[in-house]
Symmetry: C2
Subunit: 406 residues, 2 copies
């Protein structure tokens, strides 16, 4: 396989493009802006793009790649549209990456587009500094429930409950505290306040987080990702072609997609077994170890998810996630790896299908040193961690890890 | 690239699994039955499957691969879910094919699953021997209209109108008759009557077709694909692994996916320019020419589409599609290539996301000589032709061609 580089990255600010919070924009508008920004960042003429890999989940739009790219004058090429719940566009990215690595194309675009506001939300958030609802419940759209999930819904086992159980158990086993979970929200909002692409660009205090409405103990409203619209895009190129466009080298060092397994956790309900397996796979394949990581964009849909991921990725020993939070290791200015310098899903927002590629966008900008006040100093290696759906054994339906390196 | 073979193929009978026409079944049920049939046909244990590539469009179900395969005991592998309108699962198939060809996996499954009945139909068919509506309008689901298509809808330019214009222009330019279009429906229903997997297993007469309700001149109701539920699956293997399972060799000789281009037809509105370009690409890449084709599964959503495809694929010179129909060349017993021995979309049905892989299923069975009364004698080379969506310039949003050969 050939080496592949990400030579351009662009996104729109995440938020609610409903004419109220932000100006009304269609999904196509959002997609086009992100793609134009990525093409411009790469210095690539749109006519050079050889294939497109898009993601779209909840807006119910057929052929999102075709409709976004037609208007940019890109047509007559292979176009793929992926869906994989919250891990949608990292599936698109991975498909793009391997097609270039395998020599099928030299220059392609991968993107994610989402307008969640198009579907009626099931539950609107009422408090918490404009937070738009305890997002991630199931996207809120006209979704046909999988059989197993209908049962899960009946017993209340939706996303917040799943991560709340994980958090509760972690508290029981390791003495992790509510404050430690809440501090993750404080940290990511602090990061988001430095990011012009973030939905919420406002710091929150520990008290505000702890006192916001309880969603599912120990998760309060300000520890939930909001409902967001958005789009993100990246340009991938073979190393040879990449040299024609930039001297800033950001190569894909590894990519793993792993479907949830039955009883993956095997009685250990304080970690995500799928993540541990995927981490082992990507570290082995890439030759990169947890100590090498400078920055991580992590799927912090609910705060306990970020805390257990410190352990599942091997950043710290099992049970010590809370200590990492208290010591400020994963925040900007900490010894790192810095988690979610973009603000993460908590503050930057979580337009389902755009999230995966948006994580790559932030990592590319970080590795190129283009992040201004939220720059992780000297960042050389970054990891994107993106989970989607509920699979068997209450593991994610899909766990995707991607490592980028200078 | 390595050679890839299709070593197993299975599907459920297409139809309406609503508890009235056929027993009620969930999309998961349909998908599982098709996957189990494909695994059994291949003689492959489910634990050997290394990756999955699924398609699902209108049922609005997240992570269809995960949910179908979990119940079959397949988990912990890479799973992708594609959407590409009516060409959805040929996109999945192509992704699967290239991943095996590029050496990433040796044994994978590709499938399409659709339950269109889950979404409220916009229009129910009223006549025509139980035909379920002038299908293909837009699937009838809770679909968010692309911007361009909102305009198209306002002026009535939906799928039947698009293919009706194509047919009308063909009549003007080449003297093609209403009867010639109608005879394609008669032929495909004759084929469908021989196929136990077909939604409509009943012949129709030329008079019945011509006298059924006018949908969009010259297309009458019995020249429209119905609304269908269904699922289809195939097992792909590297040639080396294929040898462990079967001596019946069905190799993938070529695969092209081509996004619709602006002004592709350039004033010629009697053909699909995207199809002609894709045909040139696949013939050149595979070394196979139109004369080599024995059998075709073609996207006959409306009868004019099949007629112009004879010309676009180079089966006959421009303008002579009608003559081919009159001479019975493309029907079972004709000199061939036989088009839609399965009954095609007209009679077998068109569960959007299942159609592409179902075309491959029929070709595999034909090339293995397993089609009983609808067998195309001595079939050695087959082509699948699958189009999806409306792209720029009123070309399909995507055109996919796949050639299989013994």
């Amino acid at each position: 396989m050939r080496e592949v580089e990400v030579i351009g990255a662009g996104m729109v600010r995440f938020g609610k493009y409903n004419g109220k919070h932000l100006p009304w924009k269609s999904p196509e508008d959002l997609g086009r802006e992100a793609c134009k920004a990525a093409l411009k960042h790469a210095g690539v003429n749109h006519k050079k793009i050889e294939a497109a890999y898009f993601g779209e989940t909840y807006a119910g739009m057929p052929q999102v790649a075709q409709r976004v790219l037609d208007y940019l004058g890109i047509s007559g090429i292979s176009m793929y549209n992926h869906e994989n719940a919250c891990a949608t566009s990292l599936a698109s990215f991975r498909h793009a990456y391997f097609d270039v690595a395998n020599g099928m194309y030299d220059l392609v675009i991968a993107a994610g587009v989402e307008k969640m506001g198009l579907v009626p939300a099931k539950k609107e958030g009422k408090g918490g500094g404009g937070m738009g609802g305890a997002g991630g419940l199931l996207g809120g759209g006209p979704i046909v429930m999988p059989e197993g999930m209908m049962f899960l819904q009946d017993v209340g086992m939706l996303m917040p409950a799943f991560f709340a159980l994980l958090g509760r158990r972690h508290m029981e086993e390791f003495g992790t505290t509510r404050e430690q979970f809440a501090k993750i929200s404080v940290k990511n909002h602090r990061h988001g306040a430095l990011n012009p692409y973030s939905q919420y660009q406002k710091e929150v205090t520990l008290e505000e987080v702890l006192n916001s409405r309880m969603v599912c103990d120990p998760i309060t409203l300000l520890q939930c990702t909001p409902t967001s619209d958005g789009a993100a895009a990246v340009i991938l190129a073979s190393s040879e072609v990449a040299r024609q466009y930039t001297t800033k080298r950001v190569r894909v060092a590894g990519s793993v997609i792993y479907g949830g397994e039955y009883k993956c956790s095997k009685g250990d309900f304080t970690s995500i077994g799928t993540c541990k397996k995927a981490a082992n796979m990507i570290y082995e394949a890439s030759g990169i170890s947890p100590e090498d990581l400078d920055v991580a964009e992590q799927h912090d849909c609910f705060t306990p998810h970020e805390l257990v991921t410190y352990e599942d990725l091997g950043i710290c020993p099992k049970g010590e996630g809370g200590r990492l939070v208290d010591e400020g290791v994963t925040g900007l200015g900490g010894k790192g790896p810095v988690f979610n310098p973009s603000g993460g899903l908590q503050a930057k927002g979580h337009p389902i299908a755009a999230t995966g590629v948006a994580q790559i966008v932030e990592l590319v900008w970080q590795l190129r040193g283009e992040c201004g006040p939220r720059q992780v100093e000297g960042a050389k290696v970054g990891i994107a961690h993106n989970g989607g759906g509920i699979g068997p054994g209450l593991e994610p339906g899909l766990l995707s890890l991607t490592i980028l390196a200078k």
